[in-house]
C-alpha cells in the first residue's frame, strides 16, 4: 500500500475549498488535536493549516498561464522528516502515511527544516508539530459509508482536481491518472520520492487568432460603428 493524492493542476481553479475542508475536519480531529488559530478575529490572524493553496503566473503574455497550486504533505517514501526526528514522534505507517505522535513531539522544528515542501507547521499553542494526516480518521473509519472514506480535501473539491488512492496498485485511479497525464513528483532531485503526484496543465486547443485591425482602418471607421464598438467594449467589461 502506498496511499497518496493526485492533484490536477489543469482543473484546479484555486478556490481553497480543499484547504478549508481540511481545516474544518482536522480542527476537531483526535489525530492531531485542534489546529490552533492565533488572533483569529484580530488584525494579524494566523494559525495552523495542513493544506495551503498558492497561485503562480507562468510565462509571458500571450504565452502565460495562471497555475493554482495546492500543497499539503506529499507522504514521501524516503521521508526526511521521519529520519531527522530525534524523539520518534514522526513515523510512517505501513500504508505510507506519515504522521506525528502528538504525545512524543518536543517541538524542535527539525522536521519542518528537513521538509522541502513546507508541509509541517508548528502549533505554537500545544508546542507540537502538525501535518496532513491524509485524514486517517476518515479512511480508516468503517462507520462511514465507503464512498466517504477519503480525505476531506478530495471530497470537497468542486472540480475533481484531487484524487485519493493506492499508488502500489497499477489499476487504481491514481496510478492510471499519473500514467495517462504524465504526473510528476515535486523537487524529485532531492531524492525524497514524494508519493503525491501533480498532473501538469493540458495544452490548450489551438485557436486561430485574428490579425489586429490596422490603425488606418480604425481611424477610417464611421461614427456609428465607433459608437457600437465602444458600447460593446463597455458591456464586455
Amino acid at each position: 500500500m502506498k496511499l497518496g493524492l493526485v492533484i490536477d493542476l489543469d482543473t484546479c481553479v484555486g478556490c481553497h475549498a480543499c484547504a478549508t475542508a481540511c481545516k474544518e475536519w482536522n480542527g476537531s480531529s483526535a489525530i492531531s488535536g485542534p489546529l490552533s488559530d492565533y488572533d483569529p478575529y484580530g488584525a494579524e490572524p494566523s494559525g495552523v493549516w495542513f493544506n495551503r493553496v498558492r497561485h503562480y503566473e507562468v510565462g509571458q503574455y500571450p504565452d502565460s498561464k495562471t497555475i493554482n497550486f495546492p500543497m499539503s504533505c506529499l507522504h514521501c517514501e524516503d521521508a526526511a522528516c521521519v529520519t531527522v526526528c530525534p524523539t520518534g514522534a514522526s513515523y510512517k505507517r505501513a500504508d505510507g502515511i506519515v504522521l506525528v505522535d502528538q504525545d512524543k513531539c518536543m517541538g524542535c522544528n527539525l522536521c519542518a527544516w528537513a521538509c522541502p515542501y513546507g508541509a509541517r507547521e508548528l502549533d505554537e499553542e500545544s508546542g507540537c508539530m502538525k501535518k496532513c494526516t491524509l485524514c486517517v480518521d476518515r479512511i480508516d473509519n468503517i462507520t462511514l459509508p465507503e464512498a466517504e472514506r477519503q480525505p476531506a480535501c478530495v471530497l470537497a473539491c468542486p472540480t475533481h482536481a484531487r484524487h485519493f488512492g493506492d499508488f502500489d496498485d497499477p489499476q487504481s485511479n491514481v496510478s492510471k491518472l499519473t500514467a495517462e497525464r504524465g504526473g510528476f513528483k515535486l523537487l524529485d532531485e532531492l531524492g525524497y520520492a514524494p508519493v503525491n503526484r501533480y498532473l501538469p496543465p493540458r495544452a490548450p486547443p489551438a485557436v486561430a487568432t485574428a490579425a489586429p485591425a490596422s490603425e488606418s482602418a480604425v481611424r477610417g471607421e464611421g461614427a456609428l460603428s465607433r459608437l457600437v464598438r465602444l458600447a460593446r467594449q463597455t458591456l464586455a467589461r
Binding site: 510565462g59 504525545d103 513546507g118
Partner: protein, 330 residues
Amino acid sequence: MKPAFSVLFFTVLSGAGLGALALLSALDLFAMSGALRMPIPPPLMPIALAIALAFVLTGLSSSTLHLANPKNGWRSATRWRTSWLSREALIAIVLVLMASCYGLAWWLIAAPTLRLLLALCTLLAAWGTLHCTAMIYASLKPIRQWHTWRVPLSYFLLGHASGALLVAGIARSVGLSGDAVIAIASAFLIAAAAAKIEYWRYIASEAGVITIERAIGVAHGVHGAPVPGRSAASRSVMAARLFDSGHARGTFLMREFLVTVTARRRRGVQWVMWIGAFVLPLAWLTFGSPHWPGALLAVSASIIGLLAERWLFFADARHTVRLFHGDPRT
C-alpha cells in the same frame, strides 16, 4: 532561516567548550607519549577542564530553550539510529560524563593509565559532539547553504579556534606565557577564517541552486507538447512568479523560513564577525601579555564574533520553502 538566539548561543558556547576539552585532552595524550611538555601545569588542569565543561553545559542547557514542548525533551535520545540531533544528545551526555571523570582524574591524581584512557574518551566524545552538531545542519538537503562538507569543517575549526583561545586565556590569566597553546590557537583561527572564506565562495556559486520553475514543475514550460502557432523560443521563456500566496497574514512557514536580511545589516554583522572572532583574538595572541583582563576581553570578543558568525549562518540559509513563496531561486 530565522536565527533562534538560543541555538546560536548553544552552538557557539558548546563549540568553544568542546574545542577546549578536545585540545586539553589531546595535549595531555601528546605529553604522556613524551612528544611534548604539557603547556598547562598539572594543578591548573582540573580548573581548565571545569571551565571548558561549564561552557559546554551552559550551551547544552540553552539548547533546550528553543523547544516548543520541552517536557518531551528526554525522548530526543531515543532515535540515534537515524537522527543527528538524537546522536548529538546521546554523545553529549557521554562527553559530560567522560570530561567530568577526566577532570576528577587530574584532581585526585589518578593512575596515568586511567587518565590516558579518560583523555582519549574525552577527545573522541568532544569531536563526536562537534561533528553531530554540524551534521544536524549539513544533513538537510532542502537548504543548499547547509548541505555541504564545508559546514562540519567550519564547526570543527571554529570550535577548536575558540576553544584554544579559551585555553590560552586561562594560561595567560595565571601569568603563564602558554607559547604552544598560542601557536595552536593562532593556527586554528587562520584555518577557520580560510574555511569561512571558502564557505562564502561556495554559497555564492551556482552549486545546487533550485529555481521557482523547478519547484513548481514548469522548468520546461507549462505544457509538454508545443502549442501550434507559437514559436519554440517564446515557450522556452517560462519565468514563474508568485501571484498570490493564498493567505492574508503571516504563517509559521513565513516566520520560520522567509526571514530576509538587508545587505547593509548583513555587512554590519559580517564586520562584527571578522573583528570579534578573528582580528581581536589574533592581535591579543600576538601582542597580548600574560594578564587576565586582556584574556577576558579576547575570549568575550571571540564569543560575540562567533554569535555574529552563527547569525549569518542562519540568515544566509535559503530553504526551498522560499521558492513556493515566490523567491526566484534558493
